[in-house]
Amino acid sequence: MDNRLSKINLENLYWLGRYVERVIITLDQIVDTFDEMLDKNPMAYQVFCEKIGITDTFKDGDHFLSEYILNEALPYSMISNINMAYQNAMVSRDILKIRCFGYLRNALSVLKKCDVTKIYTLKEVKDSLFAFWGSLQEYLESQSVYSIILMGKYVEKIDLGLRFQRGDMYRSWARLEWMMSHFEISLKYEEITLQGINSLFDRSFGES
């Protein structure tokens, strides 16, 4: 295990992984929702809200899109999530390296300039986030650091997979289990819940 990781680092890296993946998956779901709203059901966004667990206070689909994607005052908005990923990356910059960090910063800048009436403009955000994942694999020297971020990623995949019934959830579960055994994190099988895994990365982790 990397001998220079603190509890704060661990927590930040784990949540970095979660927030980045949250943006990627919700971005996919938003594109699907938008598509459905176009010619089938203009109120399809309400299903999205229900699944993600937010109260529908929106006037209509367009209002939902603009608020959900770009309203920085809403803690669950896409821009808030990517901003949270950015904040976690910012405090981990000495670990992440500037090259990896740049892709995340770019995703944030692109999203800020995004035109929600032209949903395809979100694709560039996703491109930058995928580039971010790739850069981690390419440039990170510490396998431990990479694995902790990935654990956050897979936990998020499972969480949102359950909400949206996504098929890739089972593969993520298998990967997460493998990683936990790799890190010798010993939880009894029945204790492995999302809440249980999150609690591993709060600041009490490793307290003896």
Binding site: R93, D94, K97, E207
Partner: protein, 441 residues
């Protein structure tokens, strides 16, 4: 200037600066905001020949300041010999009498010095300030150079510009030279610090571990980094980016949440090197600045190579009289302030404010210095029309246990407004890279 320095490349560079998060924080109306540090692609150019003189002068100045700190925290011979009045030492907010007799590792106080200079219209350089507490800013030029090389590579093929991207390596070597056995760390007060970008950048590039105060602890005599597993890893050198007053709540400000309890105890025992040393504030006090040329003569027995801007101390009767008689053509500085605050130009003050300032100077002469206004050189900046702005130059001197080096570059800060001489980033200033060029090559 080279054809590649143009608006188009300038835009590319700005995009990259944003991408790399090259920012500084600013507090305004009690809120923290993070801004891109405005960068201008046209560099300050210093010819190698001129740089060599500056280099000698800077090394001389920092050696004298380091000798002064060694003296002030031991026998205070310079006071006994009547070179500096005792009051200037004891009344300095950066002086900590409790540190007398405490020797930093290998006698190095001024590990990293940021010396602020300006170049007059007659091309003569003047030192405006010595920053030897926690001088910031070097990383901005390193990042800017990296990006400029990508955006405008032809320039670097054509012009022999001295490399500046090894600053983090200089930092590492200096820290290694004073390390007492353990890892090097950069101690940041946190994400909301104005210079957090720099803390993280220097940690990444120098290989030091970026740490927050709660990640360090003093156990027994040593300082340790807390690994998440509970293991403690010994720390040998701390490049702290936290002011003295907040470093250790048991030694200084008891309300500090940024400090590491008992850190000073480990420091006293020589168990850890703190970069820069604690107590340096006495040497970069604006009042003490007046005496630096005298320190050069006193400690090194040499003629000072670099000159101060003509400065007066109202503490001395003659200087008080001169200051009061000429206040309209002087700049008055409050020695307790920094970051461009507390700088008043007599000519800009209303009658009422002028009178109030005069009263303050008479009441607390030690609190102020007055200086002749140097009409310093303007540098061209990229704009729709040909424009230039006032600019200063911060040179960095890195002093390790065996070697002392001037970084062959620096941070050139310029005013973004035409109506001010204040270049500080906290006051809206921008920055330029500084190129040392050997045209003979």
């Amino acid at each position: 200037m080279h054809r590649e320095i143009n608006g188009k490349n300038h835009e590319i560079i700005k995009t990259y600066l944003d991408r790399y998060g090259v920012k500084f924080g600013i507090y305004k109306d009690n809120t923290f905001d993070e801004r891109i540090f405005p960068f201008d692609m046209i560099p300050r150019v210093i010819e190698e020949e001129e740089y060599k003189i500056l280099e000698k002068g800077l090394i001389q100045r920092v050696k004298a300041l380091n000798a002064f700190l060694n003296d002030i925290y031991s026998t205070q011979q310079i006071v006994k010999d009547g070179i500096i009045p005792e009051e200037f030492i004891t009344s300095s907010s950066g002086y900590f009498p409790q540190l007398c007799g405490v020797k930093p590792v290998k006698g190095i106080y001024a590990h990293i010095s940021g010396i602020d200079l300006v170049q007059g219209k007659d091309s003569k350089w003047y030192v405006l300030e010595d920053n030897i507490r926690v001088p910031s800013g070097a990383s901005y030029s390193v990042v800017a150079r990296n990006i400029t090389r990508m955006a405008a590579p032809e320039i670097f093929k054509d012009i022999p510009i001295r490399e500046n991207r090894h600053y983090p390596q200089m930092l590492k070597e200096m820290m290694d030279s004073v390390n007492t056995g353990g890892i090097n760390v950069i101690l940041t007060p946190g994400r909301s610090n104005a210079a957090f970008f720099e803390h993280a950048f220097l940690a990444e590039k120098s290989g030091a571990k970026l740490v927050f105060p709660s990640e360090l602890e003093v156990d027994g005599e040593g300082v340790y980094f807390r690994h998440f597993s509970g293991e403690k890893i010994r720390v040998g050198a701390i490049y702290r980016r936290i002011s003295d007053e907040f470093l250790d709540p048991l030694a200084f400000n008891p309300h500090s949440l940024l400090g590491v309890p008992n850190l000073m105890s480990a420091y006293h025992k020589g168990e850890v090197a703190i970069v820069n040393a604690v107590g340096n504030g006495v040497a970069d006090d604006k009042g003490i600045y007046y005496f630096v040329p005298k320190m050069v003569e006193y400690y090194l027995g040499e003629e000072p190579i670099l000159e101060n801007a003509p400065t007066y101390l109202p503490y001395f009767e003659k200087d008080m009289q001169y200051t009061l008689e000429n206040i309209d053509k002087l700049v008055i500085k409050d020695v307790a302030e920094a970051g461009g605050y507390g700088v008043l130009f007599g000519r800009d003050l209303s009658l009422e404010k002028r009178e109030a300032l005069i009263e303050s100077i008479k009441k607390e002469p030690r609190r102020f210095i007055s200086q002749e206004i140097i009409d310093f050189k303007e540098l061209e900046i990229i704009s729709d029309t040909k424009t230039s702005r006032k600019a200063d130059f911060r040179a960095y001197v890195v002093m390790g246990a065996e070697e002392i080096h001037v970084w062959p570059s620096g941070l050139t800060r310029y005013t973004t407004r035409t109506d001010t001489f204040i270049v500080n980033s906290s006051q809206g200033g921008g920055f330029k890279d500084t190129w040392i060029i050997d045209s003979q090559k």
